[in-house]
Structures are given as C-alpha cells and as structure tokens.
C-alpha cells in the first residue's frame, strides 16, 4: 500500500549557524521555499503539511506565508528527535492513499540561545513522568542517556575509545561538508579523551551541537515525481515505534531498558521492506548523543547485540566502511535540527550529490531518536 508509492522530490535548507538573525518562521519559510524550488513545484500546489508538536510555528502561518493551496492533510508528530520520520511517513501515507497530492515537511529551530533548551524550562513542581528522575538529578537528556551508556559499557565492554569513533568519524564527514558548523574544526582521539565531561561517561564531543537553522522536504506521488526535474527518492518502507511499557527518555523500568523503541520500529520496518539491513548502502541515524548511533545499529540489525562499538571502531561507519553513517556530520558536527538534516542528507546521497558521496548509494536507512517513541524510513532510488 505504501511501498514506493510516494517520493521525496525536493529538499531545502537555510544556512546553519550558532546564531541566525531570522525568526523560526522566517527560517522555515526559507527552507520550504528552497525545497519547492528544488522540486520545481509552485507553493500553490502544496496541499499537505507535517511537522513536529515542538515546532513553534503553526501550520497555518506556514501555509499563509508561503501561499499554499487548500490543505487536505496536516499532522504533527511528538517527541522531538523521534519525530522526523513519523512526519514524513504520515505525509507519505496521505499521499499514497490519495488523500493529498503534494506534502511539505519541515523543522526550524533556534537553539543556539541557551534559554531555548528544554531542560532549562523545568518547573518548580514536576507532575508528569519526569517526577521520577528530574528532582533526583537526572535533569537533561544527556543525563538520561549517560545512565544507559554506562550500563551498555558494563554489559558489552564498550570503551570510550570505541565510542569516540562515532564522534570522530562524523567530525571527519563534517570537515568535508561546506555547510557543516564544524567544517573547519578537525577532531582527534586525544582531544576527544581530554574533552570535559557533560554527564560521565559522556563528554562534550558525545553531545550534539546547539545551533540554528531549518530544513524541509517536498513529497508527492511517485507517478507525479517521474515528471519532475529531480531524481525521485522513493519512500520504500516506514514505521513508527514505541516499545511496550515505554517511558520517554528515562526508560529504565521495563524488562530490558537497553531494548528501546527502536527495536519495535525496526521489526515493523523490515517486515514491510524488500531491502534488509544487508542491503543498505548508507544510513542516517539520529545522534543527539553518540551512544544512540550504536544502539540503533544493533536495533536495526546492522550489528549483532553488543558489537556496534567494535563495528564503529573498525571504521565501518566511515566512507569506505560497511555502512557509511551520518555522512554530512550529523547532529554532532553538521547541525542539530532534531534529525531533519539527516533526512536531507539521505536524499542527497541517493541523488548522488552529497558532499562525501557514497559511490552507487541506492538504499538508505533513516532512523530517529533511540530514547523516545520514534520512527524510521527506508529510502531508495
């Protein structure tokens, strides 16, 4: 029903920086207009949008600024870093089912300003599930992931040197990407090991950037995509996923806290896909914190359980490796846009126009935040 029936036909980004002058609305407009221009589609033809519940600009402001036509489908997906594939997937379902014809998905963020960090907005009294961790000192997402990372290190023998290879590999990709924040900032193991701890065992280089920018994609039916100027990137398979008894970010209470929602997403994704983990040429995996990349490599079946650290340390995530991953530099070294930049990079890889192009890339996994309810896509050309 869904398989290969819709396609991404346009991508657009703003500049990425620590601090941009434009508002989030202006950034969103710029990225969406760029994506529509890339697709060769007029704004008036857009009849569906999907975004994040955490997006500060409502969809009607986007529609009336850009001059969209009458909308027939609009949705928002929750849980920040877990949301981008769900937003794309829900738009793809609407297009594949014939409810809508042309959809836009975007994410605009100004996060360089410290007041925009969500954890800084915690209230004096916590009434939701965070009451079981935040008053106790697990304040930020990095603290919540640090707990899982330490346990994983204990269970599987992951070393900090192995973990470093995620950050170092992605930094090398960013150094080759003219649009990346860290394009001119090489990183070596010595500097990584000397980096200050943010939440031991995670150091500053295991954390995503704090940055401003926006990214957008345009999606339409595969039939229509064949008549457009850019090579279509097909939505081959999609799933969202939430594990049984899941608890957002601080998911320590289930039978196996290291079995995240990604495992639920992965099983249902591969069920629908003609391409399996061995058929991937490239991957874009949400990386607000570097251990998430390793966790996802195992959840999605690229590595056996406990082997992702050795896989990364052997260079398998790099340009010549078995699964080049986060090839733009990702959230650690390109820009932090809740994973929207990873989606754009997936499209660029499959079009053959990435800064570090993986030769002959035909199939790409895009996976979102391991520690939240999440989603994933298999894209192919």
């Amino acid at each position: 029903m869904l398989k290969d029936r819709s396609a991404i036909v346009g991508v657009g980004c703003t500049a990425f920086a620590k601090n941009l002058a434009e508002s989030e609305l202006e950034l969103a407009c710029g990225a969406i207009k760029a994506a529509l221009d890339d697709a060769g589609i007029a704004p008036r033809e857009v009849d569906a949008v999907a975004s994040f519940t955490q997006e500060e600009t409502p969809e009607f402001e986007i529609a009336r600024n850009l001059g969209f036509g009458e909308l027939h489908a609009f949705s928002q997906v929750a849980h920040g870093g877990g949301a981008i594939c769900g937003a794309v997937g829900q738009a793809a379902v609407a297009v594949a089912a014939g409810v809508a014809r042309t959809a836009v998905v975007w994410r605009a963020r100004k996060r360089g300003d410290p007041s925009k960090r969500q954890w800084a907005a915690v209230r004096a009294r916590v009434s939701d599930h965070w009451k079981w961790s935040r008053p106790h000192g697990l304040l930020r997402p990095v603290d919540e992931v640090a707990v899982l990372a330490r346990r994983y290190m204990h269970e599987y023998g992951l070393t900090r040197e192995q973990l470093a290879s995620v950050a170092l590999t992605q930094r090398a990709y960013a150094n080759a990407n003219p649009g990346a924040l860290m394009r001119g900032r090489p990183l070596d193991l010595e500097s990584y090991m000397a980096g200050r701890m943010i939440s031991d065992p995670l150091c500053i280089f295991d954390n995503c950037l704090e940055s401003d920018g926006a990214a957008a994609i345009v999606l339409t039916s595969t039939e229509r995509a064949r008549d457009l100027c850019r090579p279509p990137v097909l939505i081959h398979a999609f799933s969202q996923g939430m594990s049984r008894q899941h608890q957002l970010m601080s998911d320590y209470h289930g039978a196996d806290p290291l079995r995240s929602s990604s495992w639920a997403t992965a099983a249902n994704l591969w069920r629908q896909s003609d391409i399996g983990p061995d058929g991937l040429d490239v991957a874009q995996i949400y990386d607000a914190f570097s251990p998430m990349v390793l966790f996802c490599l195992e959840a999605y079946g690229v590595c056996a359980r406990g082997e992702a650290g050795a896989f990364a340390a052997a260079g398998e995530l790099g340009p010549g490796g078995r699964l080049p991953t986060n090839t733009s530099g990702g959230s650690l070294s390109e820009v932090y846009l809740h994973g929207a930049n990873l989606l754009v990079e997936a499209v660029r890889q499959l079009r053959g126009e990435a800064a570090t192009q993986i030769e002959g890339a035909r199939a790409c996994l895009v996976a979102t935040c391991d520690s939240t309810p999440n989603g994933a896509l298999i894209l192919r050309r």
Partner: protein, 148 residues
C-alpha cells in the same frame, strides 16, 4: 529558569501514598491488588490485568546499582551547586527487575552534594535513605551498604 531544585508533586491519587511513606522513612512499591504485579512508577491501571485496585507493599530498601550518571554543568543553578553528585538507577533486591532513580547520598543529613563516583561499581549493594527537601518531600536516595 527556576533557581530552586525541582520537586515532585506529592498530592496526586496515583502516587500520593509513595511520597507520604517517604516522609516516614519507608519505601513502598505499588502492586496490583488483583494479580499482584509490582510496578514502578505507579500506574492508575494494571497493564497486565487492567484492574484499578492497588496495594502498597513495603520494600526493604536494599538494592544493587544498575547504572548511574555524573552530571556536570551546564545545569540548573540548584544542581550546579550540588556538583559533583551522582544519580543512580537501582534494582531492588526484593522486587527483581524493579528499578528506582535516586541520588547517591553522603553523610547523615542525606546530602547528595560532593559524592565521589570513582569507587562505584555496577552491582554494588546500596540501601535506601531519605533526604527531606521540602515539607511534603523526602526524596529517596541511596547510601552504599555496609560491607558484609
């Protein structure tokens, strides 16, 4: 950004009994009155049998370190003032598989500030302790158990 340490609400039906017991130095675990399933955090309904009848059972407060983090700035001002501190996830001895988050405590006052993480190891035995940080909140935390 708040200046003080964030506190849990303690007056909600689903978990008020937990917080009330903390004030008396007791650790309780919510269990299903119909099927006996122990669960934490507390739920309004049992995910196994869908009963809404609950019992609160005492826990010994003994447990093992499952994992921990050592948060460092940037933090809320109230937590920055406590660094170095350690927040641990502990699996309870008498409720296997049931885990609670709490700070590692130092000294008799139940202070979490200044805990040295260097000697901790996963699986280490701990005992619950409570630090009174508001009129209605005695937050559970963990002390290293006396060596046997």
């Amino acid at each position: 950004m708040i200046e003080e340490r964030p506190l849990p609400t303690t007056d909600e039906p689903v978990d008020a009994a937990f917080w009330r017991a903390n004030l008396e130095g007791r650790l309780l675990v919510q269990t299903c009155a119909a099927c006996g399933l122990a669960r934490h955090p507390p739920r309004a309904m049992c995910p196994d049998c869908q009963s809404m009848a609950v019992e609160w059972r005492a826990a010994s407060g003994r447990g093992r370190l499952w994992s921990w983090a050592v948060p460092a700035p940037p933090l809320l001002p109230a937590f920055a003032a406590l660094t170095p501190y350690v927040t641990a996830v502990v699996e309870l001895d008498d409720y296997p598989g049931l885990r609670l988050v709490g700070p590692m405590l130092v000294g008799k006052a139940g202070d979490m500030a200044g805990f040295d993480a260097s000697a901790l190891r996963i699986g280490q035995a701990v005992q619950v302790g409570f630090s009174r940080i508001a009129e209605d909140v005695a937050l559970p935390g963990w002390r290293l158990a006396d060596p046997q």
